[in-house]
Amino acid sequence: MTRGQTIAAQGLARRARWRAPEIVFWVLAFAALLLPPGKHLLLNEVAILALFALSLDLILGYAGIISLGHAAFFGAGAYAAGLFCKLVTPDPLAGLVVGIAAGALLGLLTSFLVLRGSDLTRLMVTLGVALVLHEVANALPQWTGGADGLQGMVVGPLLGRFDFDLYGRTAYAYSLATLFVLFLLARCIVNSPFGLSLMAIRRNSLRASALGVPVNRRLVAVYTLAAAYAGAAGALLAQTTAYVSLEVLEFQRSADVLLALIIGGAGWLYGGLAGAIVFKILQDTLASNAPQFWMFWMGLFLVVLALVGRERLSGGMRGLLARVARR
């Protein structure tokens, strides 16, 4: 190994090292399983949104592709898992794999659309794809149940043993475990040479290609990967609620995940997770205290956050983590 390669390898290894706050984070997340029942349903939604935001982070934070139609893959995963459950087998894990595959396939097929163009163009193309898919799902009621939603899903017990109960504990455990596994994978990927090449593309794609990075191929790969993650999130939602409606493809869903990711900060894997926690819990708290007026407070929060500067917020959080880690 040359000296340069050694340094590079060391750098990668340093990036990949686990830090104390990360471990605390995951221990706490799993410890929440032991809480008395009551909040697991909300936590389940948080975990699903977190996975969805993680998926968006892979393309937005690491490859610089902004998307306002990420719900397309979420919805594809949800419908695939739902139909698979109804038509083939109720086993959730098999359905999850199908959901992931559906997301990935759609991601691969549509990835060529986001290879060129400005941020605005990509924003609109992704949005367009999601809207077309929404209309397609609406136009095929014999498959999707149309606007009434896909009914009659009976999801089997997890691993053949754990039923999805009313309290949502199984659901949360399932979603959290999936999130954790996929997070580990994402962590490996972004800290690999592949991940570094993505960041090079985000900063300057021309220079990256001059360095010999196959830009388009890398973008297709990461877009497909992110779509697979979104498909997984969709499948989790379909299985833990045993229901799929057109809302999974709704513009609102794409906007929510983008907001969550922006709140948490794009470009670090915990950004999506932190954003999902803040966004969901804030929304739930506001909505239960002011069912008619919560949107106002949510809006105020976003405006203030934007004006104060969220870099300051997430940057501060990251700085804090770094300082704790150094100790």
Binding site: F25, P37, G38, L43, L166, S245, A274, W294
Partner: protein, 388 residues
């Protein structure tokens, strides 16, 4: 950050489970309070509040507490809220449900937890079949459409074009109207559907105009009605000799007076009009307006009002027991006088049986109302009746 969050959650969970007292009967009211369906949510919420103000909040020795949640019409949120209400707040009854998918998504919860689900708005026929714990106090689209078809045939309308919003209730309306109309010897020239979110009705109206039928039968959800009627008139279809017949959603009382004189003369069939001629209704409309700054109650509001009545009466019958099966048994077959007229709960289907009125939009004391001129008594949901 997260640690604090989790501590807060733990504290909340402990608190809420300790607060579940024995002498209250809680009702989880899940409605769209924000989003496109917000006006539905507000009408029902107002009616529920009015009912409690008029009848007190204690029944059969139990204090009835209503917990309002906003589901923004997103079905997975509805389902989660329902689950939380059952698990955390230990509600005895779930109620509300603005749109069909919300009611459907919650059905498994009702079955699993044995908690009655009182549907106060959503109107697709099949909802009550999704769980033996679902009871409906609103209406089904077929209930309004079939009487409209009967009336049309009897009044010399032979050829009809239908136009409905492209989703569950719309398809119910289209199918039940067309089947009845054809069975009675009429001809359906064309079945048109518009996307649920169609900002401009021009293209379908042009299609309807080109079809040259005696009448156009329409269902669009309340809210889109005004625009539709205006464009109908703007296109000159009213003068082309084509009659406009509709379900009452199109001429929703909530907005009717703001639609302007263009809606005068529209014939429609529905379960409730604010101008329904009964002492009970006059008192209801007056009290409702007084409590809500002049807002006129619409057919959604009576769904909420009667839903509360049903819950109160069921609790009386069970002597305050909140056992789900007992409550459902008590609700089956219950009959009473509502502001909309006499209604009852079908003991077989748990769906509502009510009079359907044929109405014509007209001016009463300077305001536009749906004026009832014919009554079809005790209409059962025709879709489920046909299945037997």
């Amino acid at each position: 950050m997260l640690r604090r969050e989790i501590a807060a959650i733990a504290a909340l969970a402990l608190f809420s489970s300790a607060a579940a007292a024995q002498d209250t009967a809680k009702i989880g009211l899940i409605l769209p309070m924000t989003g496109q369906q917000a006006s539905t949510g507000k009408q029902i919420d107002a009616a529920v509040k009015l009912y409690q103000a008029q009848h007190g909040s204690t029944v059969a020795g139990k204090k009835v507490e209503v917990i309002l949640k906003d589901d923004t019409s997103v079905p997975d949120v509805t389902k989660r809220l329902a689950q939380e209400l059952v698990v955390n707040d230990k509600v005895a009854i779930l109620a509300g449900f603005g749109i069909t998918p919300s009611a459907m998504a919650t059905a498994p919860i009702a079955t699993q937890a044995k908690v009655p689900e009182v549907v106060m708005a959503a109107g697709t026929s099949s909802i009550t079949e999704a769980s033996p714990f679902i009871v409906r106090t609103s209406f089904t689209l077929a209930q309004s459409s079939v009487p409209m078809a009967e009336w049309a045939i009897k009044n010399g309308i032979k050829k009809v074009v239908t136009m409905v919003s492209d989703y569950g209730p719309g398809i119910d309306a289209e199918k039940s109207f067309s089947d009845k109309f054809k069975a009675d010897g009429g001809t359906i020239v064309e079945n048109l559907r518009v996307p649920l979110r169609s900002p401009d009705f021009a293209p379908v109206l042009q299609k309807a105009a080109d079809a040259k039928a005696d009448a156009l039968f329409v269902f669009v959800p309340s809210g889109a009605g005004a625009q539709f009627v205006k464009q109908f008139v703007e296109r000159g279809l009213d003068k082309s000799g084509m009659k406009l017949i509709a379900t009452g959603d199109v001429t929703d009382d909530d907005q009717l007076n703001g639609m302007g004189d263009v809606v005068m003369g529209v014939i429609n069939a529905h379960n409730y009009s604010a101008s329904h001629d009964s002492a009970l209704n006059k008192a209801y409309v007056e009290a409702f307006k007084k409590a809500n700054g002049g807002l006129r109650p619409n057919f959604m509001s009576v769904g909420g009002y009667d839903g509360m009545h049903l819950i109160y009466e069921a609790l009386k019958k069970t002597n305050g027991s909140t056992d789900g099966e007992k409550l459902i048994a008590a609700m089956k077959g219950m009959a009473w006088e509502s502001p909309r007229g006499p209604i009852s709960i079908d003991p077989d289907t748990r769906d509502i049986i009510q009079n359907i009125y044929i109405r014509k939009v007209d001016k009463v004391n300077g305001e536009l109302y749906n004026v009832e001129f014919a009554t079809i008594p005790n209409v059962k949901d025709p879709v489920k009746a046909a299945k037997k």
